[in-house]
């Protein structure tokens, strides 16, 4: 008998701690259902800190609709089932906006709870088309730019500005984000007059060695001008290191996933290496406000932003607050209507456009960061002329 009574007692205790309080209009609450522990914590926390900076700025300037923005949060613990609970608990704490995890797979459970509660949900930095109408519902948005745009930007920029003609496509099949980058590259390549795809291959992020893939590249008649590398951390560093160690010096084109200088010491004096970013963390962003933001971020969190995935968090609160201001209410449908009216809406990190067809960016201005001898720096800027059609994105 002893064991059974013990079980019920603990459960009662756990239950009483979370009594529900419905969202109502006299308070504005932003709920963060993100990972505060586990593997996603390293990617969610920076973007969340940037969002908190924007919230502080708004509150200092008098708040939203005359009210201070309150913040509630629940830890998803990098677990999908726990993500659903986190979503439900921030909704119970009266959230008007549910901010969910950076990665679509870990953010979707919480976003779905927000959708079924008829609330607006924002993915911190998910770059898959599903992070929006197509994958969650009409009230869901993403603060970042589609991975496909990064692939397309790299293809067009390297063709136009660096005269690259022969391309090699190397895809890491581990995640949806990687495939998104290569999908954009596949969409853009045929539109480039005499650009040719000399070969393609796949590898797995966790593979200890990609020697077989490198052998195939080296067996090509002549070295490709550029390698489109669709991958992300942690496997990216090993792949890049092994490509350069094998003496392949072609341009390496990437998605934003490899942005950051924290890993560059692993590949001593890396060169001819290009990454598209929404803003530069290296202090050389053409827009001075970005450098100011980096300083504010350092002051708030004690460290410089380690990758560009901090910026979408700031943009998220920025666009949502503007929509609430224009709608005059935090009611979900009104806010969604305002967001869908935004066209080339200026933000600190490039214009943002939402429409009733797509709650994501299928066209955006990217800064091009080139790494030479291990030193990254902004060298150019590029915006793909026409947006990637939704049909191609849903391939």
């Amino acid at each position: 008998m002893k064991r059974r009574t013990y079980l019920t007692a603990t459960l009662l205790g756990a239950a009483l701690a979370s009594t529900p309080a419905r969202a109502d209009d006299d308070r504005i609450v932003v709920g963060f259902a993100t990972a505060e522990s586990g593997f996603m914590q390293a990617y969610d926390k920076p973007a969340q800190d940037a969002a908190m900076i924007r919230i502080k700025e708004i509150n200092d300037a008098g708040g939203l609709l005359g009210k201070q923005i309150e913040v509630v949060n629940a830890d998803t613990k990098t677990d999908r089932a726990e993500g659903a609970k986190a979503g439900l608990s921030v909704i119970d704490q009266g959230a008007d906006l549910v901010v969910v995890s950076c990665d679509y797979d870990f953010g979707a459970p919480a976003a779905l709870t927000a959708e079924s509660a008829g609330l607006v949900s924002f993915f911190l930095c998910a770059e898959s088309i599903k992070a929006g109408i197509q994958g969650v519902g009409p009230h869901s948005f993403s603060a970042s730019v589609l991975a496909a745009v990064q692939g397309a930007t790299m293809a067009q920029w390297s063709y136009e500005k660096k005269g690259a003609r022969s391309y090699y496509r190397l895809l890491d099949t581990w995640t949806e984000y990687n495939k998104g980058i290569c999908d954009g590259f596949d969409w853009a390549l045929p539109q480039l007059a005499d650009a040719t795809l000399v070969g393609e291959d796949t590898f797995k992020n966790e593979d200890a060695s990609i020697a077989a893939q490198i052998t195939r590249i080296k067996s090509l008649p002549e070295e490709p001008d550029a390698i489109m590398l669709c991958t992300m951390m942690p496997g990216a560093v090993s792949a890049i290191k092994q490509i350069r160690a094998a003496g392949i010096n072609s341009m390496i084109l990437n998605g934003s996933g490899v942005d950051g200088s924290y890993w560059l010491s692993a590949v001593p004096d890396l060169s001819n290496f290009f990454v598209p970013v929404q803003g530069s963390i290296y202090g050389d962003d053409p827009n001075a406000d970005v450098t100011a933001f980096n300083a504010a971020y350092k002051e708030a969190t004690g460290g410089d932003p380690s990758t560009q995935y901090v910026y979408p968090g700031y943009v998220l609160i920025d666009v949502w607050a503007k929509a609430v201001e224009r709608a005059g209410t935090t009611d979900a449908d009104a806010v969604v209507a305002e967001l869908e009216k935004m066209n080339e809406e200026p933000t600190l990190f490039g214009p943002r456009t939402f429409s009733s067809e797509i709650h994501h960016q299928n066209k955006a201005r990217y800064l091009i960061v080139e790494t030479t001898n291990g030193k990254p720096g902004v060298v150019d800027e590029w915006t793909i002329p026409e947006a990637i059609p939704v049909a191609d994105l849903m391939k």
Partner: protein, 360 residues
């Protein structure tokens, strides 16, 4: 009165008590009424289904299977195919056959067919794998899981590969999961006292004696493998309906080890062990998470640093296994009187004699 009914009558107490325990948890959720707590109870019931499903094979045959999370994956995706709105299936999963794309069943029908689908694959794989025993069987079942995971993670048009399949109708009430959990408990009990179940348990404790007395071991194991595959398939389907989205690596190593740990900590040899293992560890995890989230005692707010919950869970599991190597319940079943388990044995405890070579 045939021997079968007497065995049934004597052991009926176990599933009844376990079901009563589950009903208490369901009433608790209804009484508290908060959605996140409701979801916690749903997760506990899902784990009960999966660990009881695992017990049906591992508990009765003594073979440690690493592959059962594969059946959960099969069940979850089958539920997705059967219950998603056809329009969404058109765009997300173009590779599905026409008749399947057009289909949209209620969740309970989907779960039933998902269990069948998993059972079919359990039979196919089982035909090959059930001849093996011991560590070879464990590795072969793990290879099966890895195959299922690799195929489902790369079959773009049918499973959406690594991207999450979304749009599965979400069921947020506790009652269907309670019914499914009680169903799983009764299926496990019925199998344990069936002819196949008893033969398998006999073979588990004395393999040589059992095969000498005419028990066709691979056949008995196959029956248990298929029944447990069906229950895991049902569990997978309901898992999909509990959060509305599935990806292949939700049903891979993480799930494999948490279900195995709950079974072993609870007591591998008994149905009550399986259920108590789930309840005990789930409550422990929730309590640790609740502490991590922060508890206000008087003025001060005491909170464990983030990430301590997993470490504490691992340490507690090691301590439990050290003190009670054959699990919390040993091999005893919950019953009115001190009814011992169907076949008294000490499977968790290695016989002290010189089992290798020097035996008497």
């Amino acid at each position: 009165m045939s021997a079968r009914t007497s065995v049934a009558r004597r052991t009926l107490a176990t599933p009844l008590i376990l079901s009563a325990l589950l009903i208490v948890f369901a009433l608790l959720a209804w009484f508290v009424g908060s959605k996140p707590f409701n979801q916690t109870i749903i997760d506990i019931f899902l784990r009960v289904i999966l660990v009881v499903g695992l017990y049906i094979f591992v508990g009765n045959s003594g073979v440690i299977s690493f592959g059962h999370a594969g059946f959960t994956c099969l069940g979850a995706y089958a539920a997705a195919w059967l219950t998603m709105p056809p329009m969404m299936k058109q765009t997300l999963l173009p590779g599905l056959p026409e008749w399947l794309t057009a289909l949209q069943l209620p969740y309970w029908a989907g779960a039933g067919l998902a269990a069948l689908w998993a059972a079919v694959w359990a039979a196919l794989f089982g035909k090959i794998l059930m001849r093996l025993s011991g560590i070879a069987a464990s590795i072969a079942t793990f290879a099966m899981l890895a195959m299922i995971n690799t195929i489902y993670s790369n079959w773009e048009d049918v499973t959406g590969a690594t991207s999450s399949v979304v749009g599965i109708p979400i069921v947020r009430t506790v009652w269907p999961y309670l019914i499914a959990a009680i169903l799983a408990v009764f299926i496990a009990w019925a199998h344990a006292i069936s002819r196949a179940g008893l033969a398998l348990r006999a073979a588990r404790d004395e393999p040589t004696a059992a095969s000498a007395s005419g028990i066709d071991l691979p056949r008995e194991r196959l029956i248990a493998f298929v029944v447990s595959g069906a229950v895991m398939g049902m569990g997978g389907a309901l898992f999909a309906h509990s959060i509305g989205v599935v990806t292949p690596d939700t049903f891979y190593l993480g799930l494999t080890f948490i279900t195995l740990s709950m079974l072993v900590v609870g007591g591998m040899g008994s149905l009550s062990g399986a259920v108590i293992g789930v309840l005990f560890l789930s409550v422990l995890i929730q309590a640790l998470r609740w502490l991590e989230a922060g508890v206000t005692i008087g003025a001060s707010k005491f909170a464990l640093p983030n990430g301590v919950q997993e470490i504490a869970l691992g340490v507690v599991m090691i301590l439990i296994l050290a003190r009670r190597p054959s699990g919390l319940m040993g091999n005893k079943e919950l019953g009115w009187r001190r009814a011992g388990s169907v076949a008294p044995d000490v499977s968790g405890q290695k016989q002290p004699d010189l089992s290798k070579g020097v035996s008497k």
